[in-house]
Every structure is written in C-alpha cells, then in structure tokens.
Symmetry: D2
Subunit: 421 residues, 4 copies
C-alpha cells in the first residue's frame, strides 16, 4: 500500500511546472505586503505572512530534501524548529502563539530560503523521482495552496486590527446588485457515493470512497446573502438565546458578537472591512465570516437547517468545479447570478455543514509524520465545503473537506440552507 | 403532534407510584451526606447535592404546577431564579459556577421545598391530568433520574478534593478477580433501525427512529479493563503525542494527565478513589473516569477504534437492559463475567462512541421551554451509550444517548473497542 | 533578646482568663451560622467560618502544644496540613483558594477539635509556663482576634453573594441622622514618636519605636461620610480618569465599580447590604467598603489627600482607644457625633493611609515560623489604621498597623482626609 | 506658579541644539534594527521600536505644536489616537497590549512623521517661545530620553524571545575580571535634603525639595555582583520560601524563576543574553535584570536590606553624575573598579530601593494632561535610583526617581545592600 492512498501518480514534468506556478503564486500574494505587514501575528491561530512563506518551504525541505537526499544541506540549522507547525514526529516546535515575536529571519532571508529550497527541489525533480516522492511533492504543493488561502485570511485579520484600516490591494469592486429569491432544489435520498474517486490528488480524509444513505432533502439554490443576514440582525437574531446552541450563545455573550466578523456600523450604515479596505455591505453578496454557531442560529431562525456534508456532496459532485475561486484581482465573494441551482457551490464562501469532522468508515492516516496532516484534528470541528474566493481554483474538488472549530470567523465562511423533506 | 413525540402515554396511577419511588430515591442518595457535604461545588460543572434536590423540584414546580394550576402558590418567589439551570425561555438564571456560594436555603428548607412540591404534585396526579401533563410528569421523573446520576458523580468529585479522602458510604467491595481475554463479535453491516421504537418513554434526541447504513465491523465483547489500561500507561501512552488527537494532547499537557481521574500512586501501587474511599486498582474491572481523548488514544494504541453510536446500538438493541446499574450498595463498576458477548453493554461504565452528538435526520425539539432540554447541546460533545453503575436501571434503554464534552472525566465513562472489517 | 520583642510579659492567670474569653467570642460569633453557612468560600481571600475556627485552634496546637509538650496528641494527623494558612516553615499547605471544597471535618468535628485544643491549653496554662510560652499564647490570642474580624468580614461577603440577601443576625439599626460638617484639626509637625511604647502586647511590625519627622499638616475631624460619597458619585467620580491612579482606573473599568462594595440601586435609591440584611444608605454614616484606589480618588476630588500612617498616629496616640469597636449587637459603622475632633479615630471603619506597608527602621521579624506573621507581606499593600466596628476592642491600639492590597474592598475600610499646610 | 515647577528656564538656543541631539540619538539607536525588528511587541509592557519613535514625536505634536500653533497641520488625523500612550485627558488610546499589531505606518512613514514634527519644532524654536513653552520642550526631550532607554530595554526583550538569539549590534566585550570584596560605607543619619535643588530640569516627582530624617546606616560600596548572585543560586536561594516576600515567592513559583532574566544554562555554564548576543556570565559584573522580589530576597539572604531611596540619595547627592551611562558602543554593565566608595552609584544598573514610589510631602502634579506624567503611577511600584548603562547620561541626576512594579525584570535593574547601624 502506498503512503498516500490510491490516487493517480502525477507525472514528473507536470509536477515541475506546477511547482513553479504554486511557488510563484505564494510570492505574488505576498507581494503587496511590507516587511512590517509580513511580521505581525494578530491572534494565536493567525500566522505572519513570512511564516507561511517559510513554513511551506520547510515542508519541502523536511519531507523531501532532507528525507531523500543525503547530500542536501539545510539552509539554517534552527529553521526545522522555527518553522515546524505541529509535526510532533519531526520534533518539537516553536510555540504557535509566539510566531509574531520572530523578527529575524527578515524578508530577505526568507526569500533566500525559498530560493535555496526551490533550487534543490528543481534538482530533485530533474532526477526522475520515484512514485512515492512524486506523491509527496504533490502533497507539498497542495499544502502550499492551503497556506495561500491561510496567508490571505490571516493578513486580512492582521490589517483589520489596525484603526487606519489599511488596504492589501485595490481590487475589483463591482457595484451593488440585487439578489435573487432563494429557491429549493430537491434530492430524493438513497445511496450516494461519498469521497474521492481516485482521479488526481486528494487528501487522506476524503477517503475511502464509500456509500452513504441519505433521507430525502432539499438544498437552497444559493448561499444566504448579506441582505438576509441583515433581516436576521434586525429581528434580534443576536439577542435571542432560543435560536442558539448553548455554546454558541455563551460565545455571543462573551465575545459581544452583534454581526459577522469585519462588519461595523458607521453612521447607521453597515460597513465591511475587505482586503481592499472598508466598503458598504452589499445585500446581494453571500454573507461571509460567520462562525458555525451563527450559521446554525440563522438556520434555526429561518426554519431550516444546515446540510450534512454528504448532502452537500450529493449535489456538489454533479457539478464542474468553478466559480469565484482565488483570483488576485477579486478576493471577495460575489453576488449570485441567475440560472439553475444550486449555484455558487464552489468558490465565494466556504459553506458550513452540520457534520462534525470525523473519519470516513475505514479511514487510515498515512504512516509517519505525514500522517499528522489531517487525522489528528478529528474532534471539536465542523466540516465546510466548496472553497471560497481565496481558495486556489486547482485546489478545489467536490470531495474536499475543510474543517474549523465552530467559533472560527476569520475563514471566508458562509452558509447554505437545507431542509428535510 | 404532541409536544414530546409519539411515545405511549403513561397511565396516571403508574406515574403516581413512580413519582413516589423516584423522589424517594433522590432523598435516599442524599441521605449519607451532611449539610456541609451537600453545599460544596468543586468545579463549575459539578453542582451541590442540595442544588440537585432543589432543581429537580423546581422542574416540577415550573413546568407542571405553576404552568397548569392557577391556584398554585410558589414555595419561594426567588427559587425560580436560583434553581433554574439553563432554561432561557423560563427566565434568567443564577450563574452555574457560583452554585457553591449559596448556603441558604439550608437542608431543612430544601426538604420543606421538596415536601411542598410533592404535596402539590400528588394533588395534581389525583386530578386525572391530560395526556400532555402526564407526559410532562414522566419527563420530570426522567429528568430527576438524570440528576440522581449527576448527584453521585458530583459528590464523588467533591469528596475526592478533600485530602482526608472521606467516604460517601461503605459499599460492597468484592475481592479482585481476573479478566477474561477480549474477543471480537462481528456484525455484517447493512441497514439497522436506530432510535426509539415508540414503546415507553424516550427523549426527543432518540427520535425520529430511522434507518442507518453500517459497513461490516466487529465490536469487543467487553469493555477495556484497568489491567489493559495499566499496559497503556506502562507503554508510555500518556507521553506519546502520535497516539492522541491534537486537542487531546494539548489537554494531557495542560492538565498533567498521567492516568484516569481518581487514580493516584501510593508507594508504587495504583489506587483509585471510590465512593467508599480509596482502594487498590482492580485490573479486572472496566476502566472508568476516562475522557473521550483518552478513549480515542487508547483505541489508536490498541490498533482499533471506538464504535459509532449506531454500531453500539446495533448490538445493544438486541439485548435486554440489565446489569450493574444504580444499586446504592454498589456504585462502582464490576469485573466482567464469562459468557457470550458483547457483555456489560448496559451498566458499569458509559461507553464513549466515536459519534459526535448531532441531531437524527428529521429531529425536532419540542416547542417551548422544554425544547431546551437536549437540542441546544448538539455541538462539541460526543455520545456515550449504555449507562453506568450510577444510572437508575429503569432510566436506561438501548436508544439512550448520553453526551459530554471530550475532556469530561468525572462521568463514569469507559470504553469498548471496535474495528472495521 | 526575646523572640517577640521587648513588650511586657503577660501574667499566667490573666492569660488563662483571656484565653477563655477570646475562644468563647469566636464561638459566639459563629453561633448564628448554619453548617452550610460555615462551609462556603466566596473568593480566594475569603475563608469559610469553620476554617477560621479550625485554623485558630491549629495555631495553638502547632506553636504551643506540639512545640512544647512531647506528650501532646494531635487531634488529627492531617489537620496540620489542612489548617496551616501560609507558614512555609511549618510545612506545605492545602491551597487557600480551595478551602470551600472541604465539607469534612464538619461542624461537630470542628467543635471537638476546639474542645481538644482548649483542654490541652488549659493544662498548659496551669503548668506555669515560661515567659516565651506566655508570649506565644498572647500572640495566639491576638491572632484569634484578628480572625474574629476576618470571620465577620468573610461571612458578610459570603452572604452578600446570595440573591436571597440572608441575614447574619438582627442588629441595632438606628434611624438615619445628619452628619456634622467636616472641620480640620491642625498639627505643627516636627518629631513624633512612632510605634509601640512597650506596654502590653504589640506585633513585630509596630516596632521598633522610633522618631519620625512630620511636616505641618491638618487632619479631618471625622471620616468621610456616605453623604459625601454620594456627591462624589453624582459628580461622575467613577467616570473621570483624571481623579484616579492608573492602576485604580484600570480596576474601576475591569471590575465595573460604580459605588462602594455592597451598595446597589433599588428603585432609584441606594441600598447597602449589611450583616442584618439590606438597608437604605445613611448619609451620616462613615463610608465603608471602599478600596485604597477609591479613597485616593475621593481625596483628589476633594482637593485633599490621605494622611500618612505617621500623621494618623500623631493624633491617634493622644487619644484613649474606644468607640464603635466589635459589639455583636452592632457590627456596622455609626454616624459621627458632635464634640472635639478628630473623632472616630478608633472603630467604625479602618482608615486607609497613604503609606505603603513597609518595615520600620531597624525592623526584625522574630526567628522561626512565627517570623512569617507580618514581615513577609511588606509589599504591594497599604496601611490602614484605627480598627473598625468588627475589630475586638481589646485588640486595638494607636500603633496598630493593618494592611491590605489597594484593591481590597471586603474589609470594613473607610477614609479620613488630610492636607499639607 | 508655573506648570512644571520652579526649575530654571532653559535658553532657547541651547534647547534647539539639544533638540537636534536627542532626536538624532533616537534614530541612531533604531539604526541597527530592521523594519521587522521595529514592529514586534513581545509583552504588553514592551513596545515596538517604531512605536517609540512615533510616540515621542506625538508628544511634541500634541503638547507643543497642536497646542500652541493654530496653523499647525497634523501629520495624520489618526496618529493622535494611535500614538497616545496613556494620557486620558488628551483622548482615548489604542490599547497598549496591541501595539505589535500595527504594521502600518511602516518605517518610512514613521521617518516622515519625525521629519514633519522636527521641521515644525525647528520653526517653533526659532520663534523665541515663552518660558512655559520652553519648559514643555525640555520636558518633551526628557520624555524622549526616557524612551531611548525603553527602546533599548524593549528591543533586548524582543530579540531574547527569538531562538536564533539575534544580535542588536556588536559591542565592546571586555574580558572577564575579578570583583573587589564588598565594603560598607557608613552614614551618621540626621537630616538630609531630598529632592531636586532647582538647578536645571527635574520631574515633578522629585519635588518639592524637603528634609528627611535618617537613622544611622551603612551602604555597600558597590552593587551586588553576578558572582555573589551565583552563590545565592547555589545555596538554594530560589527554592527557600523563608527568604522571600509572600508575593515574591508566589511569583517565583508561577513564573518558574531560577536565575535573573536572560540567564540560561548551556552545558553546565551560565550564559546571559545581551544586546550583542549570548555571552558567559562574568562574575565581576553587577547583577542585572532582577526584580524587586529577587533583590529583597537576596538582601535577606545576605543578612542585610535594601537602602531607602533617601539613604541612596544621601550618598548619591554628594557625587558627580557619571560612569557607565548610555554609550551606544557598550550597553552592558561593567565590573566595578577600585577606589573609594560608594562606587557605581550612577550608571551600570538601576538600583532597587526599599522605598515604595509615593509622593513627596506637598507634591502637586502639574495641571492638565502633562499632570498625568508621574503622579498617577504612585501605587504598587518601587523606586530605583542611579540610572543604568542604557540611560542617557545628561538625563541622570541624584534626585531622579525611576519606578517599576516589584515583578519587573526587563529593566536594567540591579541592587546595592544597606544595613541599619
């Protein structure tokens, strides 16, 4: 059995090309950010930009270069401690919550580190590596794509803490539009195939592919919008305990939540902080930066519920992947258009599901340090599906399972309603 | 549709008899405890004995007496604030974590309160109440039975904090025995009926009854024992991060866990604190007072996993309810005997399952305040099945879903292994 | 040099009489309190009544009985751990913040413990002990008197946490009166004698007696009243940062202080919780239960300052000790009368001084465990002078230095103004 | 009465020169630091370098430029919020503990801000300002000098958190030397003049000058050395509760202190982190980076005590100011030389005194926002005297009172013994 499951083995030349693209995109995303911007950590779960740039390089250095090439020279002897995120099998780690204290290495040295790793990776790729190595490189690139999304989520949080409301980059800001009325799309239930089908890359947690049994249900044809969320706010949604899970209500009170993250009132109007600075809340856009607790409360208020991840996948697997995924000129959810639903299944906002993040029947993490990738987080989290406007487009697929604690709001998380028929 | 689902309506005379039995058992369980014992709260989630005695009375006063009888006179105008646990719909509550600050009402006044409520409840029961009222009384009795278990769990925790290691009561202490070797019992998978079948009382969260699809699996024929747990400890189980969920490992380190709750080393030997004081750990007994994190880590160490709640119920529903459930002369798990398995499915220790506590398909909580009973806790908890040696025996059934956060150790929680075939 | 300084040696017969009086008063003060009342701890610095009763007995057992009589049998082998407050030299201690978790020993056993110690102490006193022993007994009695005040302070705090506002005892409640206008009493400055003059008992921290140099100043002829405090509140005193020390302002905001401890608004009127339950705030009474931060802010608002402890003593030493000290029928500050000032220097309320609690020149704590009595607290505290309505009258003297952290409000602490001439 | 007391009015031309020097030194001290270095905040009380550079400019902008020149244009409308430290009278402040979240303004904009303020200040100085304005400018320069020391203290802390142990700058590192034996210098006591004598600048807290009465005492002729501190460690100083104040012992345990801040063991040898990186602990150097708690415990261990601030000043006022004060090529304490004592009264290390930081008799803070400078911190702090190797030399004088909480260790704080004769 291979380490990373039964998926196709990627071709060496394609991977080499992909390697260049992925590594370049990370640098492009960091491009608008100053040395000061790239150093700040605004919460324990929010990492500095330069840490993301270094950690993704550490991944290749640790699992590919040091592991396969006895002649490889580490860039710096302490980086394996400094830039290990959570791999206990690899060794101890610099504390996550203190990443913002590390002023050095500075940006220049991080760039040298990336170049050093890139040069060695190019040599490795030219040596026609074996299938296991190719799979690990593919994993490393998918890992870096995840960190591209984190980089954007994190810098949005960092900049939002600054009363000067700084701008990451000027972005396309379409004029406000009007949302279509939400409709339901029905599903008859029965057996559905769940999990990755074996073509192309997938994480261990999308496997094994198996059958799940669904009861008849209906799914909303589009995500919940800001306009609908304003109705929820105006009807006292954040003040009514009966709408909330007990833990959710406790969080609303302790955190003082009154609206999604990044929303604020300015002179009676709701504003939202975006990667291009503050702008008016557009009622037609999907609501974004809500926690699971908020999504669950909204669904109860609306007389509906969240879909399970299997219900989501039953529809998602029928559609081509596409939509408003990571485009450096956009980086913000877009209003839904017209047409047959369910629409906006991919991109715009991750969709909270009612499913706790748990292993699929027969799930096995890979052996070794790489096995710490997904399995050890399978408690106290909920699954989100479909990707967002900061998810790289070739990183998305219908079986993709993202997961976060129910209080997390800095992800680009939204929701879509479901109901039992 | 009735408020509490489709189960049978209890007969008034039977309920009256049951009412006397349940109320008397609560008092019997509190019997060995002094006024000082009954006042202490040793953790935010641990309530004083006298609070349990009052709160269970408040439940009848609030949902039955005040709600149905305009002539009913409340025992004390502030008790509805003081002894409301978490029913926001009923009104605000005295803070849970401060219950140990309430020295008055004292024991005598609590006893008067119980007598006052009992007298009024007897009058109500004599008036041939309607079906809805009967169902609410039955709910109130089941609620009180839950608190009987909580009362015992909580006082065990309270007494364990005292360096004098006080005794709740002298209890049967059988001599140490030897455990049988664990065997596997197989299940072919397929559709199984899950949830309450409609005969007798059940909570809303056991409903609606529905079909679930199981993959073939095997279940251990008995719970994991202390002897096996000692092997886990001796093999470094509490020191090896690769065995643990990430949140579990963080908890092990922050809490300094090295053994189940109530275990301590005394001169090289492991002792366990029980309701009859400290005694030597018996290797043949089921391990008890472990968290979900520990159960999950042990399963990984053993090359197995926890069963899902559906897998548990597939076997549990085939057996009569019985075993070492609440017996005031025992109150401690007993070693497994011989015979066909799975054994000890009911009683001894609650069994952690791998299932997050979530609603069944089509679940609806009842309307009104009673709807706050179960549904609002459906996040961040895991399901336990089968009852324990402190669960009243007529409170148990195969479809019963208990639930606690994954770090909870003061419940009488143990585990049973499963594996995918 | 003796262990406890140069004060007079008490006579054995007088001490025996005093022993009976002091021990009896403790029991009398605990008399109105139920087992439940005596068990509760409402804050880390607030001890249960039964702990005070046991700890004061432990003091005699540890420093007198076990230390001097080889034949003495300890009442219980674990009490020396359970009831040691903070004497590291004696051994480790049960954690202070967990005293409320100890339900056993119960009240009966505590009473037996006191009787056991009393019997042994009587035997010791009959054996004509040496001077050192007599001094230690005297210290033990003064120690118990301190705990009599703590017992009353603490149970007031405990009962105040109960929304039922329970009554410790029905007490004399005089009708509201009107306060006299505050006048100043001047002092020319110069050298003053500070510290204990050697007659009768004193603590080490009142010694050595020495000269201090005072600049000319004036002292208010009475404490600040509730009526004056209401003006402070009404003029925005709790909302104006410029009146407060930086640490004080931070505390006002984090704690949400808007009035002295135990004050609350009820229908537009200010009420105060007392040991005889809630009553209307009497404008003529000295303000009580204010912190140093509040005292300092009030003084700044009033264009004055707090006196130093030396300034206080310069006046206090000229007066006989007397006034509204501990009287079990009162236990509440009384309005000032007429007559020459400064009045109410003793009793009613402890008076915060501007002096940090520091050693006198040449201060030496006694050797051994007894040396942990006063000296180790000489940082982060301020001195209060004069005793309060819960201070035993024969425990008070002009040189007495009480001390608490600047945020403490559960002491019966008030204030008197001073100004530099 | 003038706002800032009775000291001499500085001449406009001298001030203009001084202004250039002080502002240039700040920039020189920040010179070795990258944009990343200047952005990090490693503790709530540790500010980023660029914040110091901006805040010192904000001081001039707020109290001089905006206050006196109606035509002055603020550099940025939000800087008055962002760079106000704690002046409530001026307005609300960005939270101190979040200064490390502010990536923008970046270094370039901070430099522009400084240039903008400098240009306006030059114009102001050329306009022959009135005495009050001159005094405020002098205050602003002294304020900036304080922040020069803070800048160095803070960046040392920031860099120390980095496992790469980065170097601020290569500095003079003399070879290890041997310390002289400590001798005592006696003082007969009596009246001494305390406080600023009116020549040149002084803070309000050094005034009014007044007489204090001293008892005879002796002062050590040099500070306590690292070599002596190693003896304290080796004799179990950090493990013996009887040596410590109660709050100090609690801090030792909660923080795990085992040596001064920045000391660590490397292969059996003690190393210390300095602004030029780690080096071996030199036994002859004054011990540095100890808290008041440690200083107090050491003195008790040594059978001595800390001097009062008046005792210190009685000797300090007799000496010329000089020694190892801020020299950008040194920035580290130096071993004591030979010669008549007391030596090293100024420079090397701040010396903790036994005096709580309290107002002098008759103290009045200046009116207005400037009055928030010193007075509002007069609680929970102890006085340090004499300056350190990071204190600008023309900022020091014998009457200078520095103050910090007793747990503070990141200041360059050391100690000198005293004893009562």
């Amino acid at each position: 059995m291979t380490m990373l499951g039964a998926q196709t083995i990627p071709a060496s030349t394609e991977l080499a090309e992909k390697y260049e693209e992925v590594r370049a995109l990370t640098e492009r995303l960091a491009g608008p950010l100053s040395p000061e911007d790239q150093t700040v950590q605004s919460a324990p779960e929010v990492s500095p930009t330069k840490w993301h740039r270094a950690h993704t390089s550490w991944f290749f250095e640790t699992f590919l270069l040091s592991a396969t090439d006895p002649g490889y020279r580490e860039f710096h002897p302490r980086f394996s401690y400094l830039f290990n995120s959570y791999y206990n099998t690899v060794g101890s780690q610099y504390p996550r919550s203190a990443r913002g204290l590390i002023s050095r290495p500075g940006l220049d040295e991080i760039s040298e580190y990336r170049a050093h790793v890139d040069a060695a990776m190019r040599r490795l790729l030219e040596r026609d590596p074996d299938a296991e190595t190719l799979r690990l490189i593919e994993l490393g690139l998918n890992h870096e794509q995840q960190h591209q999304e984190l980089l954007l989520m994190d810098i949005k949080h960092v900049l939002s803490c600054n009363p000067l409301a700084p701008v990451y980059a000027a972005l396309d800001t379409p004029g406000a539009t009007s949302a279509t009325r939400q409709e339901w799309v029905e599903h008859a239930g029965g057996f559905v195939d769940i999990g990755h089908d074996g073509g192309g890359f997938a994480y261990d947690n999308e496997q094994p592919r198996h059958q799940a049994w669904l009861h008849p249900f209906a799914l909303a044809d589009r995500p919940v919008t800001n306009g609908e969320w304003l109705e929820f706010i105006d009807s006292g949604g954040y003040q009514r305990p009966e709408l909330w899970l007990s833990d959710g209500w406790a969080t609303v009170q302790s955190e003082g939540w009154q609206a999604p993250l990044y929303w604020s009132r300015s002179g009676g109007e709701w504003e939202v902080f975006t990667l291009s600075g503050p702008r008016a809340v557009d009622p037609a856009e999907p609501v974004c930066h809500i926690s699971y607790y908020e999504a669950d409360a909204y669904a109860r208020w609306a007389g509906a519920r969240l879909p399970t991840e299997f219900e989501w996948e039953a529809f998602g697997a029928r559609q081509p992947v596409g939509g408003n995924l990571l485009d450096p000129a956009v980086l913000h959810p877009r209003p839904s258009g017209h047409g047959q639903g369910p629409r906006q299944m991919f991109g715009d906002v991750w969709e909270w599901t009612g499913s706790a993040y748990l292993p699929y029947p027969g799930y096995q993490p890979p052996a070794g340090a790489i096995g710490e990738y997904n399995g050890k987080f399978m408690v106290n989290q909920h699954v989100l599906r479909g990707g967002s406007c900061v998810t790289p487009s070739d990183h998305m697929r219908a079986s993709y399972r993202n997961f976060f604690p129910p209080s997390a709001r800095w992800i680009f998380g939204g929701m879509r309603l479901a109901r039992t028929l």
